[in-house]
């Protein structure tokens, strides 16, 4: 895969010279963003189908065979709907908020390694960049809530802001453990640090299992998904921060939410489940056979586990109460991560550290 990309790169450089670099970067950006958008569209269908099956009903099955054209129909509907700006709303910020929600969710993909050497930007402080990008997503939500000039939207925004800031701490500390174990903040090196002759037993999910759980729970809370979807609590505050949005503005918030979910799934895989590594590497003949499979396949296969988990959680758990949510974040997850940072740091000094 790398060889093919490099041939294309050299050919393009010969053809366009100095102008090639921006063109090549743009091509790479499109190659990452367009599949994410497609993934988001079909993830919504998967969500409705899986929720349907879990509740013993067929889910969408009218548009296209097995409902496969449903996302297209939804997209057309949202695009052609009227976009209403409420009176008394701050027009500029009201329009800017959905964009501010979506941009960080897509920008974070720049440092995610999709296959070996397959990152858009191989940044040294990649992990830090990711934390910075995921922490920016909250602006879209707060600004949307405030600019709508609506009580429900504002209450939703306040809830969401407090929730995201709280769970970011737990997330950050969980990643400190990963960075201790990998001794690098470069995403590619974090994945390479999990390479071993023991296949999936060499990944960080074994020594850092509590952190995997904490990271994923914090990820669910960060993306405002059930059971932590207090920001859009229908029974209490209508639809939360996007109450006043219609048409494409509403669609952008949904794109941002689902893009964030896919991002969290990808990051969990990169940090704890060896990213694009083959789970059977070094397992005799099975390992040699499966080594032929491209890394992108393993990456996507592992991501789909967590994407399914998001939906499973939504179908299974009732919504948290707000004080319980705050208690879980501050009194359970953060102390646990703090303890585990010390445990991992001490563990790594002993000969018992095998990773």
């Amino acid at each position: 895969m790398i060889e093919l990309l490099q041939t294309v790169h050299q050919m393009g450089e010969g053809l366009l010279g100095a102008a090639w670099l921006p063109v090549w970067t743009a091509v790479k950006i499109f190659a990452i963003v367009l599949p994410i958008m497609g993934g988001v569209a079909y993830y919504t269908l998967a969500e409705r189908k899986i929720l349907g099956f879990m509740q013993v009903r067929p889910g969408p099955n009218r548009v296209g065979y097995w409902g496969l054209l449903q996302p297209v129909a939804d997209g057309i509907k949202l695009l052609t709907k009227e976009f209403i700006i409420p009176s008394g709303a701050n027009k500029f910020l009201f329009l800017a908020a959905p964009v501010m929600a979506l941009t960080p969710a897509l920008a974070a993909w720049a440092v995610v390694p999709l296959f070996e050497g397959g990152t858009l930007a191989n940044v040294n402080a990649g992990l830090l960049f990711l934390l910075a990008m995921t922490s920016l997503g909250v602006y879209g939500i707060i600004i949307a809530g405030w600019a709508s000039n609506s009580k429900y939207a504002f209450l939703g925004a306040l809830r969401s802001a407090a929730q995201i800031v709280s769970y970011e701490l737990a997330m950050g500390f969980a990643l400190v453990c990963v960075l201790l174990a990998a001794q690098s903040m470069n995403m590619g090196e974090i994945v390479q640090g999990q390479q071993s002759e023991y296949g999936l037993f060499g990944w960080y999910w074994i020594p850092l299992f509590p952190m995997l759980v904490v990271y994923f729970i914090a990820g669910v809370a960060e993306t405002n998904r059930a059971p932590f979807d207090l920001a859009e609590d229908e029974s209490a505050i209508v639809a939360g921060f996007h109450t006043e949005y219609s048409g494409m503005g509403f669609a952008l918030f949904f794109l941002a939410e689902y893009a964030n979910m896919i991002l969290i799934a990808a990051l969990t895989v990169v940090f704890f489940l060896g990213g694009y590594l083959n789970p059977f590497h070094g397992w005799g003949a099975l390992g040699e056979f499966t080594d032929q499979v491209p890394g992108l396949f393993w990456m996507l296969a592992k991501m789909s586990i967590f994407l399914f988990l998001f939906l499973w959680l939504r179908a299974t758990f009732p919504r948290y109460r707000y004080d319980q949510l705050m208690r879980l974040g501050w009194k359970v997850l953060i102390p646990l991560t703090l303890i585990w940072v010390v445990v991992v740091a001490a563990w790594m000094q002993t000969s018992l550290w095998l990773w």
């Binding site: 040294n124 922490s135 920016l136 707060i142 802001a161 407090a162 970011e168």
Partner: protein, 211 residues
Amino acid sequence: MNFETILFYFFAASAVFSALRVITARNPLHSVMFLVLAFVSSSGIWMLLEAEFLAIALVLVYVGAVMVLFLFVVMMLDINIEKLRKDFLQWLPAGALLATLIVVQMVWVLGDKAASTGMTAVKHAADYSNTKELGRLIYTDYVYPFELAAVLLLVAMVAAIALTFRRRRDSKRQDISWQVNVKRNDRVRIISMPATKKNEVSGADEAHAAD
């Protein structure tokens, strides 16, 4: 003029413009958003100086956490902008004086050829990790000042909480671990009742059963 210089001027201009808008914007929320822009611009300048750790930490800490809380507070406060505007000209001379003083000091320190070391900045290789270097310095050569600063911050935090925290005696609170650990027998009581025949049931119950 190479691409890096163009970037520097872009970030610098954006930082100065947004800093000015922070104090001139009519809406306090716009001021906060411009302050965010100022932070992001200065983070870009730091990135050009190859200080990627500081640049990203600035975005992570200030933009991602501190400014969110700022935004939170500004949204909920009822700020009378007209009243704030009225005193603007009155305090302008004092502010201008202070600003000039700072500029003079900066020019004095940074512009003095004799004070500068005479070294030009050397570009590092692409694999040079600024973060690792910074961590090594902080936790070896400067470990005592660093720990001292950390303790100072902790003391300030504890003091702020101790000064402002009021425990209300009459407030009702929930013990969540008690709620979670509740057993069925704490809430439900199962009573064994003898079965009754239909003609023993009273008239009111009969009417109820009919509908």
